[in-house]
C-alpha cells in the first residue's frame, strides 16, 4: 500500500511542479500570474457553464485514456488514440449522413457500433504487426494517427463536405438534430451514464476477471505467461482491439454529442492528452477518471482565458505541455524497467 501512496504523492508533486514552472515562465514574460490562475479556476469551475465545459472535455479524455490503461496493463503502449478517435467519428458520420431518414435510436446505435469497429480495426493493424512481427507499437500507432487525420481531412474536404460551408477549414454537413445525444454543451444524462458504465466495465474487466489477471501476467512477463499456457498473441490482439474500441467510441460520442459535424483536425490534442491522463491517473481506472476531469478543466480554461486576460490562447497549453513533459520523463523510467525482461518474448 505504501508503494501506491508513494506513487500518488510523486504524481501530485509532479503536477504541482508543472504549475510552478508555468507560473514562473508567465511571470518572466510579464503576465499577471494571479490573474491567469484565477482565470483558470473561473474557466474550469466557477464561471457560468465552466463546470459543464470541464466535463465535456473530460469525456473523450476519459474514454481514450481508459483505452491506454487497458493497453498498458498487458504491456502495450497504444498512443494511437487520436487516429482511432478520428476513425470512430468518421464511421459514425458516414452512418448518420448516409441514413438521414432512419429512426434516430437505431441510427445512433449503428453509428456507435460502426465507430467502435472503426477504432478497433485502426488499432488492430498495429496490434497485429506487434504480436506477429514484433514491430514497435509506439511507432506504428503514432504513424496511424497521421493516416487517420488525413482520412478525416479527405472526408470533410471531399465526399462529406458541406457545400454551403463558409469557414476557412473544411467541415462536413451537420447531422440531423434528432441524431444527437447532447446539446452543444456536450453533457447529458445519457452521455454521463454511458461513460460511467464504461468506466465501471473497464474496472471490472481489469480487476475482477480472469482475462484481466491474464493481461497483468502478460504485461509483467510474457515469457512466463507463455510457459503457463497463455496465448500471448491472442491476449495482445484483444487488448489492442479493446483499446482502439474505446477511442472509437469517444469519436461517436463527439459526433453525436457536442460536435454534430466534423471539422478537419478537430480536437487535435485529445489523443495525446489522454495518454498523459492515463499516466497521471497512475494507470488505474479511478485515477484516470480523476485525471480526465483535471485535464478537462484545463482544456476548458484554455478556451476561457482569452476572455478575461490578455493572454494569448496557447499560453496555457504550456501548462499542459509541462505536465506531459514531466510525466514522460517519469514514464521513461517505467518503460525501461519493463522492456528488459518483457518485450522480446511477445513476438516469438
Amino acid at each position: 500500500m505504501t508503494g501506491g501512496l508513494q506513487r500518488l504523492a510523486s504524481t501530485v508533486v509532479l503536477v504541482g511542479f508543472s504549475f510552478l514552472l508555468t507560473a514562473l515562465i508567465l511571470w518572466i514574460s510579464g503576465y499577471g500570474v494571479g490573474d491567469v490562475f484565477s482565470g483558470t479556476i473561473q474557466g474550469a469551475i466557477t464561471a457560468t457553464g465552466a463546470a459543464t465545459s470541464t466535463v465535456r472535455w473530460a469525456i473523450p479524455l476519459l474514454l481514450i485514456g481508459l483505452g491506454v490503461v487497458i493497453g498498458f496493463r498487458a504491456g502495450f503502449f497504444n498512443i494511437g488514440g487520436q487516429g482511432q478517435f478520428y476513425m470512430g467519428a468518421c464511421a459514425a458520420l458516414v452512418v448518420a449522413l448516409g441514413w438521414r431518414e432512419g429512426p434516430a435510436t437505431l441510427v445512433i446505435l449503428c453509428g456507435t457500433a460502426a465507430a467502435i469497429i472503426a477504432g478497433l480495426s485502426w488499432s488492430l493493424l498495429p496490434g497485429y504487426l506487434r504480436v506477429r512481427f514484433g514491430t514497435d507499437e509506439v511507432l506504428t500507432t503514432l504513424m496511424m494517427n497521421f493516416i487517420g487525420a488525413l482520412v478525416l481531412q479527405y472526408l470533410t474536404a471531399g465526399p462529406m463536405r458541406n457545400p454551403s460551408g463558409t469557414g476557412q477549414t473544411a467541415a462536413s454537413e451537420r447531422i440531423p438534430e434528432a441524431f444527437r445525444i447532447t446539446d452543444s454543451s456536450g453533457v447529458s444524462a445519457t452521455v454521463l451514464l454511458l461513460v460511467g458504465a464504461v468506466a465501471v466495465l473497464v474496472w471490472l474487466l481489469l480487476e475482477r476477471t480472469r482475462f484481466g489477471l491474464t493481461m497483468t501476467l502478460v504485461g509483467r512477463n510474457p515469457t512466463m505467461a507463455r510457459w503457463q499456457g497463455i496465448d500471448v498473441r491472442r491476449v495482445g490482439l484483444v487488448t489492442f482491439g479493446l483499446s482502439g474500441a474505446l477511442a472509437g467510441l469517444a469519436g461517436a460520442v463527439e459526433l453525436h454529442g457536442p460536435g454534430a459535424r466534423l471539422v478537419t483536425g478537430f480536437s487535435p490534442e485529445v489523443g495525446f492528452t489522454a495518454v498523459v491522463v492515463a499516466l497521471v491517473g497512475l494507470l488505474s481506472v479511478w485515477g484516470t477518471v480523476v485525471a480526465a476531469i483535471f485535464f478537462g478543466g484545463l482544456q476548458s480554461a484554455i478556451l476561457f482565458l482569452p476572455i478575461v486576460t490578455d493572454l494569448p490562447p496557447p499560453a496555457l497549453v504550456l501548462l499542459h505541455g509541462m505536465v506531459a513533459f514531466l510525466v514522460t520523463v517519469k514514464l521513461r523510467a517505467v518503460r525501461r524497467r519493463r522492456t528488459g525482461s518483457a518485450s522480446e518474448a511477445v513476438t516469438s
Binding site: 471490472l204 480487476e207 475482477r208 476477471t209 480472469r210 489477471l213 491474464t214 497483468t216 501476467l217 509483467r220 512477463n221 515469457t223 512466463m224 505467461a225 507463455r226 510457459w227 503457463q228 499456457g229 497463455i230 496465448d231 525482461s341
Partner: protein, 517 residues
C-alpha cells in the same frame, strides 16, 4: 591437501571486514560480520538461500553500502559503497546474474567492461578480435567474439562473465555462485582456473552451494547463517563434512518434513506421455530434436542426462507446446497432442518446472498470489459467472503456499522479493496442484541450497509414489542416479543411450560426450 606456502600469520589479509551490518527494512541481511581472508588462497563462502552471501559479496565489491562496519583490501580501507574504488583496489566481481549488455557482441562487451589497459576510444572490429582472441579460447573459440551476448546460451554467458572478470589484473576475485549454471565439466575447468589464479597469488572468494564443490575447490570455508558468520574461515582440511553441514543448516528446525502430493493416479500402469520419432527445428545454440522416442509411464521418474546444449531445452519446449513438432507425434494422457496449443496440454495434466525459474517460472514483479494462481487463468469456463473473487484467489494461493512451506510475508508482495529456494517452492506449489499427471522438471534444483534441494527431490519422489509420471532433466548426475527409474542420455538432439539402475557412471559419462556414437 597441500597448502601452497601457507601465509605467515602476520601477513596482511587480502580482504578484511569488520562488524559489517546491513538491513533491508525489517530484514537483517548481515549482522556483525567480521572476516579476514588470507592472500593467495581459495576461500569458499557457503550458507542457505537468504543467509546473506550475496549481500556480503556486494558489500565487499562496493555495490552495497553497509549500515555499519568497514572493508579493507590489502590493508587499505575502502570508501563504503564505492564500486570504482573497489575495482581500483584490485577487486573483480563475477555476479550471480548476468551483467553484460545483451545487444553487444562478445568482443565489444569485453572491451567495454573488462578495463584491460591498451584499448582505444575508437576501435576496429578486427583489432578487437585480435585483442580478445586468447580470452575467447576459454569460451568456445574465436568465432564467438562476434556473437551478440543475447544470442549466447546461458552457460556461455556465465563463462563469459568469468572471463571478463579475470581479464583484469585483479588481486582479489569474488565469484557469486559461479557454478549454478555450469556443466560438470565446465565446473572442473573453472576450479582448475581458480587454482591457477591462486598459484599466481590471487585471492579468490567463491560462493558455493554444493558441499562436494566446496571440498573440491576451497582451501578455507566460511559459513553464513541468518546474516551471521557462524564458522570460519576454517581450513578445509580440519573440517568434517558433518561439521560443515551442521553449521550451514543450524539446529534442526523440522521445517522440512516431506510434503504429500496428490496426483491423479488410478493404480493401473499406463503411458502418460509418449513421443514417437519427434523432430524439431534447431535454435541458434541448441540442436533441434532428431527423431526422439520417449515415454513416461505412471509411477516412474525418467531422467534425461546430457551435457547442456544437446537438445534438452528443445525437448522441454516441444513437450510444453512452445516449439513446433516438425515430424513425428506426441501423445499426452492418451490424447494426440502433436500440435495442440500449450493451454490444452496444461489442462490435460501436463505440469512444468522450467529451466530458468526467474524468467520462465515466475513473473518477478507480479504479486506472489498471481504467480501462484497462473494456471487458473487458462482454459474456458463458459458456464461460470465472469467475475471472480480476488479474495478467494488469494486465499487459495496462500493455502497452497503454506502447504508447500513457501516463506512469504504477504500474498501481495512481488515474487522477486522471495529467495531462490522459495521461488522454486512457489513454482512447485502451483505446478503440483491436483490434476497433475506428468511433471516435466528442468533443472529443478539448480542453484538451490542443500535444504531446498532435498525438499525438491523428496517432492519428486512423492509425486512418483502417488502415481504420477516425472521427466527429470538435470545436469547433476548424482541427482539423476538418485532419483531416476530409467535414464536416457541426450547428445546432439538425439537419445543416444538408455540405462536402467544401477547406473554405471563411466558408461553414462561416455554416452554424454558422444563416445558411443
Amino acid at each position: 591437501m597441500t597448502v601452497p606456502s601457507g601465509p605467515a600469520p602476520a601477513a596482511v589479509p587480502a580482504v578484511r571486514c569488520r562488524s559489517l551490518g546491513v538491513s533491508f527494512g525489517a530484514v537483517r541481511a548481515l549482522h556483525d560480520v567480521s572476516l579476514d581472508l588470507a592472500p593467495g588462497r581459495i576461500h569458499a563462502l557457503v550458507g542457505q538461500n537468504g543467509a546473506g552471501k550475496t549481500t556480503l559479496v556486494k558489500v565487499l565489491g562496493g555495490l552495497q553500502a553497509p549500515d555499519s562496519g568497514e572493508v579493507h583490501i590489502a590493508g587499505r580501507k575502502l570508501p563504503s559503497g564505492d564500486a570504482r574504488a573497489a575495482r581500483a583496489a584490485g577487486l573483480a566481481m563475477v555476479h550471480q546474474h548476468f551483467s553484460l549488455p545483451p545487444s553487444f557482441t562478445v568482443a565489444e562487451a569485453l572491451e567495454l567492461t573488462a578495463f584491460r589497459p591498451g584499448g582505444r576510444s575508437v576501435y576496429r572490429r578486427a583489432e578487437l578480435r585480435r585483442r580478445w582472441r586468447t580470452a575467447a579460447a576459454e569460451i568456445g573459440g574465436e568465432a564467438v567474439l562476434s556473437t551478440r551476448i543475447r544470442d549466447l546460451p546461458v552457460e556461455t554467458r556465465q563463462s563469459l562473465e568469468i572471463v571478463r572478470a579475470l581479464a583484469t589484473d585483479a588481486r582479489v576475485v569474488i565469484l557469486d555462485e559461479p557454478t549454478a549454471l555450469l556443466t560438470p565439466t565446465a565446473i572442473d575447468t573453472l576450479f582448475e582456473r581458480l587454482r591457477r589464479l591462486r598459484d599466481d597469488g590471487v585471492t579468490v572468494l567463491v560462493v558455493l552451494h554444493k558441499l562436494r564443490e566446496v571440498a573440491a575447490a576451497a582451501d578455507t570455508v566460511s559459513v553464513l547463517r541468518d546474516g551471521e558468520l557462524v564458522l570460519g574461515p576454517s581450513e578445509m582440511s580440519e573440517l568434517s563434512q558433518g561439521q560443515l553441514s551442521d553449521a550451514i543448516v543450524g539446529p534442526a528446525s523440522g521445517a522440512d518434513r516431506a510434503v504429500g502430493v496428490e496426483a491423479a493416479a488410478n493404480g493401473e500402469r499406463q503411458t502418460l506421455l509418449e513421443l514417437v520419432r519427434v523432430s524439431s527445428r534447431e535454435s541458434a545454440f541448441e540442436p533441434g530434436l532428431r527423431r526422439i522416442d520417449l515415454s513416461v509411464d505412471t509411477s516412474e521418474i525418467v531422467g534425461i542426462a546430457g551435457v547442456e546444449g544437446n537438445g534438452q531445452r528443445s525437448l522441454v519446449s516441444v513437450i510444453a507446446g512452445l516449439d513446433a513438432v516438425v515430424e513425428g507425434s506426441m501423445v499426452l494422457g492418451g490424447t494426440e497432442m502433436t500440435s495442440a496449443p500449450s493451454a490444452r496440454r496444461r489442462l490435460r495434466g501436463l505440469r512444468l518446472v522450467p529451466f530458468d525459474r526467474n524468467s520462465e517460472g515466475i513473473s518477478r514483479r507480479a504479486p506472489v498470489w498471481l504467480n501462484q494462481s497462473a494456471l487458473r487463468l487458462i482454459g474456458r469456463h463458459p458456464r461460470r459467472f465472469p467475475l471472480i473473487s480476488l479474495r478467494q484467489y488469494k486465499r487459495q494461493a496462500a493455502e497452497a503456499m503454506d502447504h508447500w512451506q513457501v516463506r512469504y510475508d504477504s500474498v501481495t508482495q512481488p515474487a522477486e522479493s522471495l529467495s531462490g529456494g522459495n521461488v522454486q517452492r512457489l513454482i512447485l506449489s502451483r505446478e503440483m496442484a491436483p490434476g497433475l499427471e506428468v511433471l516435466v522438471a528442468a533443472q529443478p534444483t539448480r542453484g538451490l541450497d542443500f535444504a531446498a534441494t532435498n525438499f525438491v527431490r523428496r517432492s519428486l519422489r512423492g509425486l512418483r509414489d502417488a502415481g504420477a509420471g516425472v521427466l527429470l532433466v538435470s545436469s547433476d548426475l548424482d541427482e539423476l542416479f538418485e532419483l531416476s527409474d530409467r535414464l536416457l542420455v541426450m547428445y546432439g538432439g538425439s537419445i543416444v543411450a538408455r540405462f536402467e539402475a544401477p547406473y554405471d557412471r563411466r558408461a553414462v559419462g561416455d554416452a554424454m560426450t558422444g563416445a558411443l556414437r
